[in-house]
Symmetry: C2
Subunit: 400 residues, 2 copies
Amino acid sequence: MSTAWTSRYAQRTKGIKSSAIRELLKLTHRPEVISFAGGLPASDLFPTNRFRMTCCKVLEQQPHLALQYGATEGYEPLREVVARHIAGYGIKARSENVLITSGSQQALDLIGKLLLNPGERVLVEAPTYLGALQAFSVYGADCVSVPSDDNGLCSDLLEAPLRSGPKFMYVLPNFQNPAGTTLSAGRRHQLVLLADSYGIPIIEDDPYGQLRYEGEHLPPLVALDRENLRRDSGYSIGNVIYLSTFSKTLAPGLRLGWIVAPPEVISKLVQFKQGADLHTSTFVQRVAYEAARDNFLNEHVKLIRRVYRERRDMMLDALQQFFPPEVTWTRPMGGLFLWVTLPAGMNAQKLFDAALRENVAFVPGDSFYAPNGHQDDARRHLRLNFSAAPPARSAKAFAA
Amino acid sequence: MSTAWTSRYAQRTKGIKSSAIRELLKLTHRPEVISFAGGLPASDLFPTNRFRMTCCKVLEQQPHLALQYGATEGYEPLREVVARHIAGYGIKARSENVLITSGSQQALDLIGKLLLNPGERVLVEAPTYLGALQAFSVYGADCVSVPSDDNGLCSDLLEAPLRSGPKFMYVLPNFQNPAGTTLSAGRRHQLVLLADSYGIPIIEDDPYGQLRYEGEHLPPLVALDRENLRRDSGYSIGNVIYLSTFSKTLAPGLRLGWIVAPPEVISKLVQFKQGADLHTSTFVQRVAYEAARDNFLNEHVKLIRRVYRERRDMMLDALQQFFPPEVTWTRPMGGLFLWVTLPAGMNAQKLFDAALRENVAFVPGDSFYAPNGHQDDARRHLRLNFSAAPPARSAKAFAA
């Protein structure tokens, strides 16, 4: 009977809080709602024709391999494509440094599985990516917030938290989700040096770094770590594990991300991944490889940057035009999101309820904080996504 | 430097033993080796043309949805296809009882995540599926073996293990991996009644149940549980969680499995899956849905049964012809594997070394036992796969 599990076993199962965003997004799925709530890439930019071509190619040329079980590490040519691709962003890696994951959410899960024991601390930004809080909390982590401002994580406030003995630090340096902020060059150096001196590894999550709309690319933490600290000249990597994804460049529906780490870390993660899902779809990996190759990925990223830049500018203009002067917001140089701060005393949840009555949706900011992290301040914020909605719909929403 | 992780963090990371099979399979990948070692479905039976057609259809008709983020529970029409499909095997379920997973390996991982705390016991068959031992051990489970014979798990030896307070029992009733045995009808009833009376849930793993080559389909534990125990007439399910997969019927490279459970269990698993990989590839789910629909899956399963039955029979004939009379083996009524027992004192690992010199490979049996489970006996066994190798190659291998 349906009560068997709840009465017998449910009280013996581990707790996990349901995602507030998950429930909220259900409200925003009605077609009449103009939603700035999700973190969706623009589906009108998906390279559909390219995928159709590459699906046919993969199924014509090597169907027996593309549909069979595969290596846990990932499809070797795709690992090589990733290694070459990130070289363009300043990261030296070989395919042996790359593990293909089922989206970068799985990367977070595997890192939690590898490194975390119940009660251990993880340093996170305030605010930070909700999915990371979820992934780490499953392993009993105590996520501890470090303040951030318009230049990202406040690295001058890091010494005390680092001294408290966290297992690792989790940082999104580029066009952060949810804040849209970018960690400044000076703070990157400081962060890498401090983490190294305290022996605390850094998990660098970089889903958006390829989507920069202005300014110069800043060196990733994983590259600074090796350069600053004169790590040896090989391809192995030091104190930083780097994560990224094809979700924001090719398509999220593929569920393809990757981890860059020293070979001995990759080898341990491979063992955990084997227990978690054996391997990521061989078919999807081959389709992505064929789609990305011959410089298509780089050219496609240029197109995405052009379109998203326009959408960001349109949203910034609309905010300027329609929001009262007491409201402030970040001005992201890339990525998918910006972060709005309401005047003291205002509550983003109440604004959400009012906006939804006008068929406009966003995410109230308090979901993006670790449980102990700045809850009062959290209620004044909201996250807006500018990648998904075409400008015409957005303009209408702001006017309403 | 490359030693940073090993010196600083590796000793602080959780241990997991490397899969023996993983290392072994590397040896068997040379093209000249005739391998009975893997658990590979026959790639010559993959419905490649069907997939090519459905990929095009999905990318033509709804590319914006097929490539976008999707629901954690799975693609609703695919959940409905699964519910209808398993109805043909005696399982009443609605789509709300079905969670789509990234292969059924992920189902094992999510169940471990939901139910297990370090040191808790899980009852498993001796021998059992290696991947389940791996998945549960990550969560600190103590897997305790219950003996099995030619009729599957010895249910008359279950009372003492059940009294020892395990968290759940893990069983493969049909054409078991690795033994190829099938749990008899009488034992199924006994098992379900005992588990219910001790309040111990059953995880029923059924990747092969659709591939029966002779005899009548036996009722799944999940169906007996409801019938025998007069669970209420709705679609919710009681004391058994049922797992299966498209890996052995459509293709393993898709990485698509499913969990059937009461809605309140599904709802908890969904929360854990969200933290693990957000959701399984929307694209692959839609391709599988379009491939499976209109009765294609059932027709294709009939073809697989015909071909695998021939391959099984060929292997049984070859064993009869070439193996000495002191060697015995199971005669599986379905699935992919059979299980060979060498005379007392013989060691399957030594036979493996000798066979590999003749370019023939299999898996020595000791990998398939829980750490405390019957290790001496384990060395006398080996697992042979009959689905992957076409008969002509197999005959050559046995003759050698």
